[in-house]
């Protein structure tokens, strides 16, 4: 510990170099932490949703297959099911948006019981139930689009050949792990509009979302749902909400692999950068190190001093980069520019892992220069003119 002032002095000796190395590490770590947060938050949210015992039943042919609306009532009657609702993706386009957001036709009587972690004021729920063309929107979505209660939201049908116009009757809230960028409306509104034009796509619930009475009965319940419709025209497969989310991620492709490869490249690049810095420090101080050794400092101390300096720079970069990422996501809301990212934040575990990674980079990059420093020959070193 008594060497701490010396180490800090060495770190701040060539300020520009330390700042630049630290910045290089910080900027790169910022990126890595951001990318990994994307994965870890998703995993955490999936994990968090487990307590709600939700099951999704979808057509064995995937999301684009039919689940007849009559299935909802049949599923509701199966023992162990608390509530069941249709959850039909409408996918309409708002104004000139190129990208759609989550719009689901569902059942106002039960949706708040199925998605029990979401909060909607009772009078708003009542107002929504009373209005056939009413809808309820997430708080982030409402803010980003500037919608207030009573506003009209016209959507152009994309998947479905009908345009729907909604009136905002409620704005739901939820914790940071919930998706507050969805719009829920009455399934019957979509379905009746489809029936009016005799569309063959009428009567499709999309998927059925339900919650089980307890976690223990879920495996049996899923089997029961599967077998109930096994020999019908539209057999379904029941899965936990987590499995459903995972299957969605899998369709996006190898996101995990992509993030991993990028991060590995970043780490290797940073190792080079940090090692280079330490090598430069070593070159400048060869004479000084020789002097240290000449007056009796053991090799291990020199080694320790150099390694500590490398670790300090890595740590500094990591703290700024990883904690900077955390801070930025706390302060700035990116969902304004990137719809659908309202749930993203940097968890402490990921930020701290980033700091640890930066420290490790500092340590590893310092090993060879430190070893060289420890082995500086006293005679040669003293004679050396930089």
């Amino acid at each position: 510990m008594k060497y701490l002032p010396l180490i800090l002095r060495n770190v701040t000796r060539n300020k520009i170099r330390s700042i630049f190395t630290g910045s290089s590490i910080a900027v790169s770590l910022f990126l890595v932490v951001m990318l990994y947060s994307f994965l870890s938050v998703q995993d955490a949210n999936n994990e968090a949703s487990k307590v709600h015992n939700r099951i999704i039943a979808m057509n064995v042919q995937g999301l684009t297959g039919d689940v007849p609306i009559a299935y909802v009532d049949r599923i509701r009657k199966i023992e162990g099911v608390r509530y069941a609702v249709p959850y039909s993706w409408y996918g309409g386009m708002y104004k000139d948006d190129k990208i759609t957001f989550g719009q689901f036709g569902t059942d106002a009587n039960s949706i708040m019981n199925v998605l029990e972690e979401y909060k909607l004021a009772p009078e708003q729920l009542a107002a929504w139930k009373a209005d056939k063309t009413g809808c309820v929107v997430g708080s982030i979505l409402a803010r980003n689009k500037g919608w207030k209660l009573g506003d009209k939201v016209p959507l152009k049908g994309d998947i479905y050949p009908v345009n729907l116009e909604f009136t905002v009757r409620g704005i739901y809230e939820g914790s940071s792990s919930t998706d507050r960028e969805m719009l829920w409306f009455h399934f019957s509104y979509l379905d009746d509009s489809l029936k009016e034009i005799n569309a063959p796509t009428a009567g499709n619930a999309g998927i059925v979302m339900l919650n089980a009475e307890s976690a223990d009965i879920m495996p049996d319940l899923m089997k029961k749902i599967d077998s109930t419709f096994a020999s019908s025209d539209a057999p379904v497969r029941a899965m936990t909400e987590k499995q459903f989310q995972q299957s969605f991620m899998e369709m996006m492709g190898n996101v995990r692999g992509f993030i991993r490869y990028t991060s590995i490249a970043v780490v290797v690049a940073l190792l080079c950068v940090a090692a280079n810095t330490m090598a430069m420090a070593l070159r400048e101080r060869t004479r000084e190190i020789a002097l240290f050794k000449a007056i009796g400092f053991p090799q291990s101390t020199i080694l320790g001093l150099f390694l500590s300096e490398a670790v300090a720079i890595g740590l500094l970069g990591g703290v700024f980069g990883a904690l900077g990422a955390k801070l930025l996501f706390e302060v700035v809301d990116f969902s304004k520019w990137v719809p659908g990212l309202g749930w993203l934040y940097v968890p402490w575990s990921t930020a701290l892992a980033g700091v640890a990674l930066a420290t490790a980079i500092g340590l590893v990059s310092g090993i060879y220069p430190a070893w060289r420093a420890a082995n500086v020959s006293v005679v040669e070193g003293l004679r050396k003119i930089v």
């Binding site: 520009i16 190395t21 990126l31 990318l35 684009t64 994309d158 345009n163 280079n276």
Partner: protein, 386 residues
């Protein structure tokens, strides 16, 4: 001007430091190319699907074929419109096609994806440039046979020649592999339109009409005429428009690539600046000598900028070589309308050039401040430095 030999020899004199910097920037360029190549590959797949004179007719409001429906009557009428090209037998180059989705498991066990199964007519082949059967046979009309691309067959179960896959609940047998110049068709399974319509219970309706106009003018007239007809409620778009809209839906991948490249380049700039500061600090006397010999300030600035540029360009070459060494990486993601698009990373000249351009930016910006410091050195002080 100071001869470039001076810079090259200086770089050689600090071998380890130079190599570290080159390797670091190389990793950054490599990672950026990797990120650009992902979106570049997707974009290329969409672009090569475009024939400039082709028109795609969809239901009004739908942005993809999956969600579209065109009645047989409307399709037949459109095919009589003037301005449509003909093949050498005098048949119009237009094909009403049916698109059905099948949910198929990936070979590597990482879940399922929605695969586009396209029911085609004989003319469909002429509407895709460079369509050819490369292995096995074409499917026979009237039976449940299908052809796929090799890329798709490697990625999904049941799609190799001789294997079977399920559409709705009927098995189809794969009899051959086709190519179509790398476009989106290579992410599809092709089969007989009539057979598919029967299996999918969609006789009498098709998803879209593809046609080729005789000229750009005729193309516009056809589009105007079809769009103007309020009764049939169809929309006609050029293939170019259709695919650029689809590409836009994958903006997320593009954005991630740009974010990665931005942060990595920023990080690398600091590292380059560090290296150059080190180089200049240890060569103060040399710089003083050069100035004393009569080299002007501008020469010094140019020389050091050049040196930093050389470092980065060497890094860029390393990064490009690294990307090329990866060879062809096939991957897939969810394109528009939840269906799988299979594509290869694009490490073509344009993507490599973008990566190299980043290196030039790193070199110029990162090297500027250090070079400026070299210029500002007072000759007397510089010469006095040890």
């Amino acid at each position: 001007m100071i001869p470039i030999k001076y810079n090259l020899r200086s770089l050689m004199a600090r071998k380890i430091g130079s190599l570290m910097t080159i390797f670091g920037t190389g990793m950054v360029v490599w990672a950026s190319i990797f990120a650009f190549g992902l979106y570049g590959g997707l974009e290329k797949t969409f672009n090569t699907s475009v024939s400039p004179l082709d028109v795609l007719i969809l239901r009004q409001g739908s942005t993809s074929e999956t969600a579209s429906a065109v009645t047989e009557a409307a399709a037949r009428e459109i095919m009589t419109f003037p301005g449509i090209a003909t093949d050498d037998q005098g048949n119009v180059l237009a094909a009403p096609e049916l698109v059905v989705i099948s949910y198929i498991s990936k070979r590597d066990g990482s879940g399922n994806a929605n695969i586009t199964v396209r029911g085609v007519l004989p003319n469909s082949r002429l509407l895709r440039d460079n369509f050819k059967i490369v292995a096995g046979d074409d499917f026979r009309p009237g039976v449940r046979e299908a052809i796929v691309s090799r890329a798709l067959s490697d990625r999904f179960q049941g799609l190799r020649i001789g294997e079977e896959f399920i559409v709705q609940d009927k098995p189809f047998k794969v009899v051959g592999y086709f190519e179509s110049g790398g476009g989106t068709s290579e992410s599809e399974v092709w089969t007989d339109q009539r057979v598919l319509a029967q299996v999918a219970n969609r006789t009498g309706a098709t998803s879209s009409v593809q046609l080729r106009a005789v000229s750009k003018d005729a193309q516009q007239q056809l589009i105007d005429r079809i769009t103007a007809d309020e009764q049939v409620a169809l929309k006609a778009v050029t293939e170019e428009q259709y695919y650029s809209d689809l590409a836009e839906q994958s903006f997320f991948i593009k954005m991630i690539g740009q974010i990665i490249a931005f942060f990595l380049t920023l990080g690398a700039m600091f590292a380059v600046a560090n290296t150059m500061y080190g180089a200049i600090a240890s060569r103060a006397r040399e710089i003083g000598t050069l100035r004393a010999l009569g080299f002007g300030r501008f020469s010094i600035l140019a020389a050091f900028l050049l040196e930093s540029l050389v470092l980065c360009v060497l890094g860029a070459l390393l990064g490009c070589a690294g990307a090329l060494l990866l060879g062809e990486i096939r991957t897939g993601t969810m394109g528009g309308s939840f269906t799988e698009v299979v594509f290869s990373f694009n490490f073509g000249p344009d993507v490599l050039f973008k990566g190299a351009l980043l290196a030039v930016v790193m070199g110029l910006i990162g090297g500027f401040a250090p070079a400026l410091r070299a210029v500002r050195m007072k000759v007397v002080d510089a010469l006095r430095e040890v």
